[in-house]
């Protein structure tokens, strides 16, 4: 069923925030179609009466006290990996073109 067109790949790339090259678009159209075709073998599986499982060990609503805890890393440690900072904050490119 799922033959991915160039257009569909470009849409997925946009949703994924990936600026693909033309060559990648062609390549992924073929490869992703192939992979989707494989996973679609599940279409014929009868799962009537069964519920999906999202958590395998049966945990539910694991909570803790809402209190401030000391943590290994300081804000300055986290900012040290940033590509650009200004006045102790992350600096990003302009949002409106």
């Amino acid at each position: 069923m799922s033959k991915l067109t160039r257009k569909a790949v470009l849409k997925l790339a946009r949703l994924s925030r990936l600026k693909l090259s033309d060559e990648e678009v062609d390549r992924f159209a073929v490869e992703l179609t192939h992979i989707l075709k494989y996973v679609e073998t599940l279409n014929s599986v009868n799962v009537e009466g069964l519920e999906p499982t999202y958590q395998v060990t049966g945990l539910k609503n694991v909570t803790r006290e809402d209190e401030i805890k000391k943590y290994q890393a300081q804000p300055s440690d986290l900012l040290a990996d940033a590509p650009a900072i200004k006045d102790g904050q992350y600096k990003v490119k302009r949002v409106i073109g």
Partner: protein
């Protein structure tokens, strides 16, 4: 290949002053330098390792108890956040990244006296079965340099067999500890989901990711699990650990009920692998195990379900790499949107892009029910089948992989062909059960791995039977 005594013996000798931690660290760093041509290691952390080793030796001098892993060097897969160097997950997008905190598993090992000396190669972001998806280089199999070590923890498995350190850490999302263990001839343990904290490990698919050891022996794996397991407030998906030590093992085989999974012994097995696995099963029988065949018809569906669920989680987990707070940031972008698109395009390799887009597709409005929800429901079928099997059996057994280590380049043309390498390992991830790969002979001169699977939380029993098997071999 490189020789190290058992972990417990090294720790005892360090604590009693017969061995010095600084010498062990130097021995490990020397072995890494000597075996560079295998490309198992991405980076070394010599300064911090030597410093920590000196601290261990100082404590010993003052007769302070260091811990059960006193002075033992180890190698972490490069998706564990560690101090003293870079953490890259073998991806260009994390080139130059310095971890601001350490993974809980690393912290626990350090508290027990172990010393991280180096970071091992992997498929970038742990996406792969051969290390060929690493953005750095391909690791070579210790038994044959023209072959892959398996993946994604290929660097860790190769490192242990090459003797670069006494043990290594890996992560297993669909088979990434057990497969390279099988291909390299190591012991590889995938614990029950939630037994070891995932905090500080680069996330791949959060509902199946687990952390485990790669070692030469089951006893060593048990000791590393004993140190790493247990509660951590930074991971809310953790389960209670066993009340007894994971090193307290029942190795008795007699009377144990073992099911040979029929679907894992299919025609897809390489003949040489089949011979070794059948011979391993025969040994278990001769040792008194009650061995019968069990059919689990849902298990072959696990891989297709995994390749929906896992990319879905990957697409979500890799959304954080946006070029703004850390990691690669494109120099070409003029506005924020371009910065996202170009940073991600330049920083991610082909396999990460594939998985992000597949995941985005299966989670899209209009496709969610047909793919994602269906796959998670098939997951329920798989879990039910495991539960049913473990009502009658103590353990399930079969090969870890249908093949021995393949040639470098043999499977890279077709991503799906690479995915199929995990056909046997992946069901335990989808169900959360513990599983282990132990060496079981050779085929064409290359190691074959026997996989044993137990019910959830039966990690100690699993280690016991694995050690029992090891003693037969």
């Amino acid at each position: 290949m490189g020789q190290w005594p058992a972990l417990s013996e090294i720790a005892f000798k360090v604590q009693s002053g017969q061995l010095k931690a600084v010498d062990l660290v130097d021995k490990s760093l020397q072995a890494i330098a000597d075996k560079q041509d295998y490309q198992a290691i991405i980076s070394i952390i010599p300064d911090r390792a030597r410093q920590r080793a000196s601290q261990v030796d100082e404590k010993v001098k003052k007769a302070v108890q260091v811990g059960p892993l006193a002075g033992i060097p180890f190698i972490a897969k490069d998706n564990f956040l560690t101090f003293g160097g870079e953490t890259t997950a073998a991806s260009n997008i994390l080139r130059g990244f310095k971890a601001p905190y350490q993974a809980t598993a690393i912290e626990k090992l350090e508290e027990a006296g172990a010393i991280c000396v180096a970071k091992a190669n992997l498929d970038a972001f742990a996406h792969g079965s051969s290390t060929e998806n690493s953005d750095w280089f391909v690791t070579k199999n210790p038994h044959d340099k023209t072959r892959v070590p398996g993946g994604s923890s290929g660097g860790s498995a190769a490192a242990v067999i090459l003797g670069l350190a006494p043990f290594a850490l890996g992560t297993d999302t669909g088979g990434s500890i057990r497969l390279p263990a099988s291909f390299c001839g190591a012991v590889g343990l995938k614990p029950t989901y939630g037994l070891v904290s995932r905090s500080g490990v680069v996330a791949m698919a959060s509902s199946t990711d687990v952390i485990g050891p790669l070692t030469k022996t089951v006893e060593d794996a048990a000791l590393v699990l004993e140190v790493m397991s247990g509660q951590d407030q930074l991971d809310s998906t953790m389960i209670e650990r066993d009340n007894n030590s994971y090193t307290d093992l029942d190795t008795k085989i007699k009377g144990k009920k073992i099911g040979v999974v029929k679907e894992y012994m299919s025609d897809g097995l390489e003949p040489g692998v089949r011979i070794q696995i059948e011979s391993a099963i025969e040994k278990l029988k001769n040792a008194g195990a009650q061995v019968t065949e069990v059919s689990m018809p849902s298990l072959p569906l696990a891989l297709a379900a995994y390749y929906i669920v896992s990319p879905a989680e990957v697409s979500s987990n890799l959304a954080r790499y946006d070029g703004q707070r850390y990691g690669h940031s494109s120099k070409k972008a003029v506005d924020l949107d371009q910065s996202y698109e170009l940073s991600r395009e330049e920083g991610f390799g082909l396999e990460a892009k594939r998985r992000i887009m597949i995941g985005t597709h299966v989670l899209s409005s209009g496709y969610y029910d047909a793919y994602y929800k269906k796959a998670q429901t098939v997951r329920t079928m798989i879990i039910n089948e495991f539960n049913q099997a473990f009502a009658s059996y103590d353990f399930l057994v079969g090969p870890t992989a249908p093949m021995v280590a393949f040639k470098i380049g043999e499977r890279t043309d077709d991503p799906l062909k690479m995915y199929l390498t995990d056909i046997i390992t992946v069901a335990a991830n989808m169900a959360g059960n513990p599983a282990i790969s132990v060496p079981a002979g050779k085929s064409q001169g290359l190691p074959v791995g026997l996989q044993l699977i137990a019910s959830q939380r039966a990690d100690r029993a699993l280690l016991g039977i694995a050690k029992g098997f090891e003693e037969l071999a």
